[in-house]
Point group: C2
Chain length 353, copies 2
């Protein structure tokens, strides 16, 4: 259900540093998107939240409604435990609000495994999806590349990778606005014979099924940042490693850059000029908080996962992604694509019988 102004359901208790992160995030995103009419349904402990909210601007305070709960999912809870024990927690209630139609999208910085598991119970999976995936939107010189799965499924069969392709393609169209996104399968080489059995079987499935996907073929790790394809499909093991390794490499370059900018008086003068001349823009691009927010795909509802260790600025980025999704045709695009997958599967089983 879509509301005239987007309503974001916020799990305020998920961030490592506590509820101030979510509350500050709301203030930040309303400054960044000053035209947005977004409202926030904030789930958590009112005793902790109220004093934080009181400090906000009048505009932010007006947009927030708190739904109190004093239970929360902990970072150490196993997914199965979380499902059994966390009914009524801030995470559960944030998801239930979307299920009930009281909000358009959930944003949580909580325990990823628990968020996946509770999402499946509360929102249920879309018909035809084996397991949800988590996608990350990766900045490139050409826009954004959507990479999935980045950690939900450590072991994936070929048909799961095909589902990821279908869901990632719909996501790119709905959220990044492309009309005919290209899809690549992440591999260790571009030639057809490269890789393991799973990735080769997935490539065959995508090619043979009449999915009407703009399938490019295999892509390699460096093609992600290059933006060679709009969507990059991989299993959650390699995808998580790729995402975190890239984050680490970017951090390392930032470290070297700071070293270079302070290595001599001349360099410091140069850095000061750069500071006046557009360095902030670069710094913002290198800031991991500027790309915070994974999206859970395959559910009857929209869920954004923020990094647990983020701050208010980073949480604001995840909220911004939620606002974008609330205004998009994401759910109908995914459904249309899954129908295509189902039709292709039926056609294939008929032609085989």
């Amino acid at each position: 259900m879509s509301h005239t102004s987007p309503i974001i359901s916020v799990d305020a208790m998920g961030a490592d540093q506590g509820p101030s992160i979510a509350v500050e995030g709301i203030e930040h995103i309303l400054k960044r998107r000053h035209d947005s009419a977004a409202r926030f349904l904030v789930h958590g402990d009112e005793a902790q939240l109220s004093p934080l909210i009181e400090k906000l601007s009048a505009k932010a305070r007006d947009r927030i409604a708190v739904q109190h709960t004093d239970t929360e999912v902990r970072m150490t809870d196993k997914p199965s435990e979380a499902v059994r024990r966390s009914r009524g927690s801030s995470m559960w209630n944030a998801l239930a609000a979307v299920k009930a139609g009281d909000a358009d999208v959930v944003v949580s910085a909580g325990n990823t495994g628990a968020l996946m598991a509770i999402s499946k119970v509360v929102l249920r999976m879309k018909k035809g999806v084996h397991r949800p995936a988590i996608s990350a939107s990766w900045p490139t010189p050409r826009g954004h590349t959507v990479v999935l799965d980045v950690g939900a499924n450590v072991e994936c069969g070929p048909s799961q990778l095909v589902e990821f392709a279908i869901m990632g393609e719909a996501f790119h169209r709905a959220v990044h606005g492309s009309t005919n996104p290209t899809v690549g399968l992440l591999n260790v080489g571009q030639e057809e014979l490269k890789g393991n059995d799973t990735v080769r079987a997935a490539a065959r499935l995508i090619r043979e099924a009449a999915l009407d996907l703009n399938y490019h073929g295999f892509v390699e790790g460096d093609d992600i940042s290059l933006g060679l394809t709009d969507v990059v499909v991989t299993d959650g093991f390699s995808g998580n490693i790729a995402l975190k390794t890239a984050e680490g490499a970017v951090k390392l370059v930032g470290h070297w850059m700071r070293e270079a900018f302070t290595s001599s008086i001349t360099a410091k003068i140069g850095a000061a000029f750069l500071q006046m001349g557009g360095l902030d823009h670069l710094r913002a691009k290198l800031d991991p908080r500027s790309i915070n927010g994974g999206v859970l795909l395959g559910l009857n509802g929209m869920v954004v996962k923020s990094h647990g260790g983020t701050d208010g600025e980073g949480f604001a980025t995840a909220l911004g992604l939620g606002i974008d999704m609330a205004g998009s045709h994401f759910l109908t695009e995914i459904e249309a694509n899954l129908d295509r997958l189902k039709a292709a599967e039926e056609q294939s089983s008929e032609s085989n019988s």
Copy 2:
């Protein structure tokens, strides 16, 4: 066999851009390492090589001996074909020279699969090694992290990962000079329950076998660039994706940096000051040519694999790695470590029987 001055066996025909890359690489490395007494046994087509070598400095010319062959392994050859058909090629002869004791280490920019396969035939694998691995030395703020496997084995069982740990640890000691390198297993989280069956089984094996490894536990993608451990062990699928994804991310940052440095007059002035004040050092660090060179581990002989698409500067880096290895105790360190692995396995099978 180690020579008083290191002798590098060069496959001159492997680079995508032809034999000029290897010849220029020799000139470059002799400039960078002006104290080195290294000599080069260059395998390839004399008709192409002679005019290139004539253009070099007298010093470089004096250090080169050409061993002529007019056959070469092509980038499109499958490994099995290469083994059958490429006896007498520049790659084969370069490896055979090390086998015969005429050189200390091979450097090739040729077809990776063929290099692996021919190496196994010509040099043979060390006892106790299932398959060779390729390691990459990753620069970090703390030195170098050795990552393996970065592409030789797309599917690995737990005991192979243990071999990689043993070989990577020996490599770090021999080439990067650490005394007690720490070893991590690449995974999607640091907790014991994370990841797939293979990586969890490998962790158990490393812990239970009395390998005397300085085993840290699981590490994540961003820990590689951080230098959290000296050695990071993974299968060739994830390792290749991690390496290339990091390369892509660093290239993307370089692209943004150039944009930022030329975005305004003020920024250009800043960049000019930086240029005087140490930017070259940063640029060199971000240059993929400065970290060119994977090492094949597990063979009775030392083999360095350069990127096929590199230029003379990049090939020089691979030659430099070869020179470092020629002067190291790499082969004896690996052997000692494999003996430890064998002893641990025997002890474990005795205690099980």
